[in-house]
């Protein structure tokens, strides 16, 4: 007998201990490329599809997220050396790019993004995700305090702050409005950076702390995960998930949870409010999310064996058409800026991920999960 991951926790007055057994892992041999165009619904083809979508959508998404944060931090360094309007504009643009990249990764909120039940990494990137609470005022108050304090505002300082003080929201507030009166005029924002060096320290510290999180997520997916010596990608694809779930079930329930979040928290009406402009707003982010989910289902290249193909091969082309129609409904709602319709489409897609898609792929999400009492 051996002991597995122990998570014993005492609350309040935390003492958390975790010993992590080394997992013996094998990477499932899934084959590299498709050898013919005729998809067949089988465990082998499903494994191949999961491998390809994992690489094309999730691993690539985690990599992109980390890269965009690196770019942001590079821009922060340049800007803070000599604050000017062009630099601020570039930084604000990069934050928007980063926010869009985040919505492409967030549907896959498992593994390195969500590997701690008490302190999940994702919430340090996006404080709105856990419960849909708007911490804007909290962050504003904190920024006032930080600017007035003698604390050293560096990466280490912000890495130890609570989740609702850091991440994308804190960067958005710092970059897009003045601390003095929450004005969003770029000239006033620039003026504050020019006149208060601590605001640049704050910006750099927040950016550095965010990079710690996104680097960890990228490394967890691609390099080594929780000191196991193997990547989460390998563990995920080999089905060695510690909670006993299978890769496809983990994937489907994660996307379903994200779609539930979008409509339950009315995300489109609440995120990216300060950074909104003529060419960017929360609808831009929703487009990114729908792009990502459609890519997951339909594939992102012709070489990919897609879940849609496998659903069709299993005789479920009607279900594919239904999901495609619902994706289009979401896009139509985005085009018309109709939050009610968008949330309705997200709810319908949520149902697709609960029933139509797993049924079409002959996957059970679990009888207790789906209809417990």
């Amino acid at each position: 007998m051996r002991d597995n991951t122990a998570t014993t926790l005492y609350w309040p007055g935390w003492k958390q201990s975790a010993s992590i057994g080394v997992l013996a892992l094998t990477l499932a041999a899934c084959g590299g490329t498709r050898e013919n165009d005729e998809a067949v619904l089988s465990q082998g083809s499903l494994d191949l599809a999961i491998q390809q979508l994992t690489d094309a959508t999730i691993v690539a998404g985690a990599d992109r997220m980390a890269t965009e944060v690196e770019t942001l931090n590079s821009h922060i360094t340049s800007f803070c050396n000599a604050p000017d309007a062009a630099g601020l504009s570039q930084l604000q643009g990069q934050w928007r790019t980063l926010a869009a990249a985040w919505q492409q990764l967030l549907p896959y909120n498992f593994g390195p993004l969500n590997d701690d039940l008490v302190f999940p990494p994702y919430q340090y990137i996006d404080s709105y995700r856990p419960r849909g609470r708007d911490y804007t005022e909290t962050v504003r108050t904190e920024i006032d305090g930080w600017l007035d304090s003698d604390d050293t505002l560096n990466t280490e300082y912000f890495a130890s702050r609570t989740f609702n003080r850091v991440g994308l929201l804190a960067l958005e507030i710092t970059l897009f409005e003045t601390a003095a009166d929450q004005g969003t005029d770029a000239t006033a924002v620039l003026g504050e950076f020019s006149s208060q060096s601590r605001k640049c320290e704050l910006l750099a510290g927040l950016g550095g702390a965010l990079a710690l999180r996104t680097d960890s997520v990228r490394d967890g997916w691609s390099a080594t995960y929780q000191d196991t010596g193997t990547s989460y990608r390998e563990q995920f694809l080999s089905g060695e998930l510690d909670d006993g779930s299978t890769p496809l079930v983990t994937l489907l329930t994660s996307v379903q949870s994200y779609l539930d979040y979008l409509q339950q928290r009315d995300v489109v009406s609440n995120v990216a409010q300060i950074s909104a402009s003529d060419s960017f707003d929360s609808w831009t982010l929703m487009t990114s999310a729908i792009d990502s989910i459609e890519g997951l289902l339909a594939g992102t290249s012709e070489e990919q064996v897609s879940l849609f193909e496998l659903m069709t091969a299993g005789g479920n082309s009607t279900a594919v058409a239904t999901v495609q129609a619902n994706l289009q409904q979401a896009r139509d709602a985005i085009d018309s800026r109709d939050a009610t319709s968008f949330n309705a489409a997200a709810a319908t897609l949520d149902g697709n991920f609960k029933r139509d898609i797993p049924d079409s792929l002959d996957v059970s999400l679990g009888i207790n999960f789906s209809d417990g009492d």
Binding site: N4, L9, W11, G21, S245, F369, G372, D373
Partner: protein
């Protein structure tokens, strides 16, 4: 007791859930309404005969009508299934003769199943009380003479506790449960009171599991005198949409309850504690707290609860969160947690040294009851079995 031993009835083995009328047609109803049929599934399973002994874990099991059964493992091995023809939910064992098990149909349910684990070919079904449907749980009296089950009057929706003679399974008495939608119930250590989780949810068999009173629902924890049927105490939670659904009782009378939140009837997204304790002498339910991210992972839903008397820890499972959480019943403090896909079944090993968890993939995991560390070497998977919501333990003497 009237019973029949009917083996090899493949031709009449139900392929779908049977209606009460079909059951009666199949078996020829007795005056007591007892029916029985043999099971090809049961007959095909390995069969420990008389003299079976050891620790037995039992649970409703099966993913569809062809699989529905009461199933058990003896010393973690030898899965045995007694086909039921209906989806079971909760179950109970006779405290005097623990080999005698009863399983209750999932709501809206019409049947119960009686089986002797030492002679699993002898099974019996019984029906919901006249004019009632079952909610899925029941328990025995301390002397093993009576079986109590939670049911509801079909037309009025009034919650009932139905009392059956455990030998004949005939309905002897019916009294009010103290609320709408009674679900789990248990006998208190004094042997005189029942504690009932009235979920507060009004349903009608004509509309299946659809909740008909979300706006006005009222969930209560009710203590009832088993002799008079009178309510002796009633408690509520401060969250009106938290449906108290499952419970367990410690030897000192502490009651742990698990709730399921009716979020669609709420106008906010605030996190609501899902677990609570009623400690002896207290006039209120103590909500069990924890860090918000962890509580959020339970997804507004706890499906099962079990107290380990030896360690004073209560476990709560959430298949919707793929998570089990454990709290100290004396201090109310969170003690730990364990992630496990679609986990719902939860019991305590006979020696009380382990929590045992089951899921719908046929898997079993065991956690040290003090440290909550998993003994991974004891992991088991029974392909083809699908454990339903609740898991129970008995020990049969050698």
């Amino acid at each position: 007791m009237r019973e029949k031993t009917m083996k090899h009835r493949e031709a009449t083995r139900p392929g779908n859930r049977l209606s009460r009328r079909q059951l009666l047609q199949l078996s020829g109803a007795s005056a007591l309404g007892l029916v029985a049929w043999g099971s090809g599934l049961a007959a095909a399973a390995s069969r420990p005969g008389k003299g079976v002994s050891g620790e037995i874990w039992f649970s409703a099991q099966g993913r569809d009508a062809s699989e529905y059964s009461l199933s058990w493992l003896t010393d973690g091995k030898q899965p045995v299934t007694a086909a039921s023809g209906f989806r079971g939910h909760g179950a109970a064992s006779d405290p005097v003769n623990p080999r005698r098990l009863v399983m209750f149909a999932r709501r809206p349910g019409w049947h119960g199943l009686w089986v002797d684990v030492t002679d699993p070919d002898r099974i019996q079904t019984f029906e919901a009380a006249p004019g009632c449907f079952m909610h899925g749980h029941g328990c025995f009296s301390a002397d093993g003479q009576w079986v109590f089950s939670t049911e509801s009057e079909i037309e009025s929706g009034v919650g009932k506790v139905v009392v059956r003679d455990s030998q004949t399974l005939a309905v002897e008495r019916v009294f009010d449960s103290g609320g709408i939608g009674p679900h789990d119930l248990a006998l208190m250590p004094n042997g005189q009171h029942l504690v009932v989780a009235n979920g507060g949810l009004l349903t009608h068999p004509d509309t299946g599991r659809k909740v008909l009173n979300l706006d006005s629902m009222r969930s209560t924890l009710s203590y009832l005198d088993i002799e008079s049927g009178q309510m002796v105490e009633e408690l509520t939670l401060p969250y009106p949409k938290a449906s108290i659904r499952h419970l367990d009782v410690a030897p000192n009378g502490t009651v742990a309850v698990a709730t399921q939140l009716q979020r669609e009837a709420m106008r906010h997204d605030d996190l609501v504690p899902l677990a609570a304790l009623h400690q002896p002498g207290s006039s209120r339910l103590m909500e069990l707290q924890g860090p918000e991210p962890l509580l959020a992972r339970f997804n507004d839903y706890m499906g099962s609860v079990r107290i380990n008397p030896a360690t004073g820890l209560a476990g709560f499972t959430s298949p919707r969160g793929n998570l089990a959480g454990f709290w100290d019943i004396h201090s109310g403090e969170l003690a730990g947690y364990h992630a496990f896909f679609d986990v719902c079944g939860l019991t305590v090993s006979a020696d009380q040294q382990r929590f045992v968890l089951s899921n719908s993939a046929g898997e079993i995991r065991q956690l040290d009851a003090r440290t909550l560390t998993e003994h991974t070497g004891l992991r088991q998977r029974f392909n083809g079995l699908h454990w339903d919501n609740h898991l129970f333990t008995i020990r049969l003497p050698g």
